[in-house]
């Protein structure tokens, strides 16, 4: 499998997305980028612990896909889910506080970086067993089918998850039962240190949908407008036909797999080549060429995002610790409820 960074987007970019909309997308991607840069810093400072998987380089995927969702739609993600959470509107402060393990975290400090939840936004969380989220997404869609709700459940997972049996079982079940699941494979070409070509006998992921009679498409995951339009088409058909769809977004992670990863399995050159297609740079370039992003506008955007990240950190720092006495409270649902 070549890791050449140029793709022909299988789905053409959204025609004439307004400058305002493109700036919204840039704001979201910038927020994810700065939020995670800060998180990495805080991890080194020992404020954040456990596993931390950064999404840097892949921001266009979550940002573009989630454009296609309504508040009624549901999201199931992985342990690499800060981007999905932020793009869905989970407050940055609640996410940062969660990574601090504080009571004001979005999972009350129980979950940490890998297990962000926000039920009010139908953000059904980060799943840290690879492939483990797919059946849950199928079930959420089954509930919608049984209740005749025209909702879409989006399920994010990586290329590595495609090797798990649950990928196969979930595509078959979703297709067999005509369930509205949008499966989004974030193909960043590596499962930890294992390159796509060393874990898939046939590396074209979009083709994996064929034997189930599931439609699929591939999209340039570095081009947020391409991702958005592919996701809109996909979500539209999933909602209309109550059938699953597999969308492969070809992307790349600029950082190591996790903070523990020495990143010895790929070359600097490969990483640098991909950074030329940094989704933020691509979108910024497009806006600038349209004359839609004057320097001061961009600077303002940067300031705005920095302020939000700083506020998120402040919120996390100010958060209380959950009392040890209440430790056993959340094992079972209180009868009250």
């Amino acid at each position: 499998m070549t890791t050449d960074a140029t793709f022909s987007a299988a789905v053409s970019p959204a025609e004439g997305a307004t400058a305002a909309h493109q700036i919204d997308l840039l704001r979201t991607m910038l927020l994810i980028r700065r939020f995670e840069e800060k998180a990495a810093e805080l991890y080194s400072a020992g404020k954040i612990r456990g596993f931390l998987h950064l999404y840097i380089g892949e921001e266009a995927v979550a940002t573009g896909v989630i454009q296609a969702l309504t508040p009624e739609d549901a999201i199931v993600a992985t342990y690499r889910e800060h981007g999905q959470a932020l793009a869905r509107g989970v407050p940055a402060g609640a996410i940062m506080a969660e990574m601090y393990g504080r009571a004001n975290g979005c999972s009350r400090g129980r979950g940490g970086s890998m297990h962000l939840f926000d039920v009010t936004r139908r953000f059904y969380g980060g799943y840290a067993i690879v492939g483990g989220g797919l059946p849950v997404a199928v079930g959420l869609a089954l509930a919608d089918r049984l209740r005749q709700r025209r909702r879409v459940t989006v399920c994010f997972f990586g290329d590595g998850a495609v090797a798990e049996g649950e990928f196969h079982e979930s595509l078959n079940l979703a297709a067999l039962w005509e369930l509205p699941v949008l499966f989004v494979c974030e193909n960043n070409l590596y499962a930890m240190g294992t390159a796509l070509g060393r874990h898939q006998s046939q590396p074209d992921i979009a083709r994996k949908a064929e034997p189930y009679g599931v439609t699929s498409a591939s999209v340039d995951g570095m081009d947020v407008l391409a991702v958005e339009s592919a996701a809109r088409q996909a979500a539209e058909s999933v909602r209309r036909e109550s059938r699953p769809h597999l969308l492969e977004a070809r992307t790349y992670r600029f950082r190591a797999h996790s903070m523990y990863d020495p990143d010895l399995y790929r070359t600097r050159e490969e990483i640098e080549r991909w950074k030329l297609r940094d989704p933020l740079i691509l979108l910024r370039g497009r806006l600038e060429s349209q004359g839609a992003l004057p320097a001061e506008r961009l600077a303002a955007l940067e300031r705005e995002v920095d302020t939000r990240v700083a506020a998120a950190v402040a919120e996390a720092e100010a958060g209380e610790l959950e009392p040890v006495e209440g430790m056993l409270d959340d094992v079972h649902t209180p009868p009250a409820r």
Partner: protein
Amino acid sequence: MKTTYREAVRAALRDALETDPRVFLMGEDVGRYGGAYAVSHGLLEEFGPERVRDAPLSESTFVGAGIGAALGGMRPVVEVMTVNFSLLALDQIVNNAATLHHMSGGQLSVPLVIRMATGAGRQLAAQHSHSLECWYAHIPGIRVLAPATLEDARGMLPSALRLPDPVVIFEHASLYGMEGDLADDAGAVELDRAAVRREGRDLTCITYGGSLGKVLAAAAELAREDISAEVLDLRSLRPLDVATLVASVRRTRRALVVDEGWKTGGLAGEVSAVLMEQAFYDLDAPVARLCTAELPIPYAKQLEDAALPRVETIVAAARALLPAR
């Protein structure tokens, strides 16, 4: 009315489907086939394919789909044909069903009921004769039930469906044909307490599920030797009703735990350890365990019989617990 364990479970399923639109059944061959043990026979015809769903052979995914459907507001009843196949679904049960309420800081709940047949004794050999209740009983976040009577076969399911969290119900395959009388208005039962199935003075025999019948038969035989055995049915394997266990053993001062699971690392050991902690000074003899011999269950009848607890071996183990006379 006269009924069977199988019909009692079916009545509970039908009742749940009738009274709660959020309830649906899902599992391999629960529909057209009527259930591997004929438990759901007729329900597809009565409730249709949307609510009685035949699943492909994809245990991990249809159990996981049950979790997702529960998150989505439904009350799924998932049948995993037997505990032997549930090994393929353990990741979903242990890492998702049992953890989501906690990991989400209390935002999510998973009101999922999983039923499965368990146990040996029908010459099905090593891959089809497991009793892994103890594995499930080890996991915080789920409840584990083992109906051993018609009342519990009928009543544990509706009670489980009222709980907001995952419940795993183990039905011993040898019980489905058990006949008996059941009150016409039989319904939900309480789930927290172990039951004294026979009162006695000389020792307490603690068991559950498919072994209850053997233990009661042994108690009857012991009675002929003037040995008065109390028989306790755990009913709930997680949490254990320790108070009832301890109260009984405090009276009888002797205990025998009978479990079809393998001894090492099994549920009988847990019961023994709990009695060690809470009834040590009341014991006149060490708590004894009678479990299945530690080998993969063999096909040949004489070998399987020799491996499993039997009435004779239960009687012998009980006698051995008592002072020589």
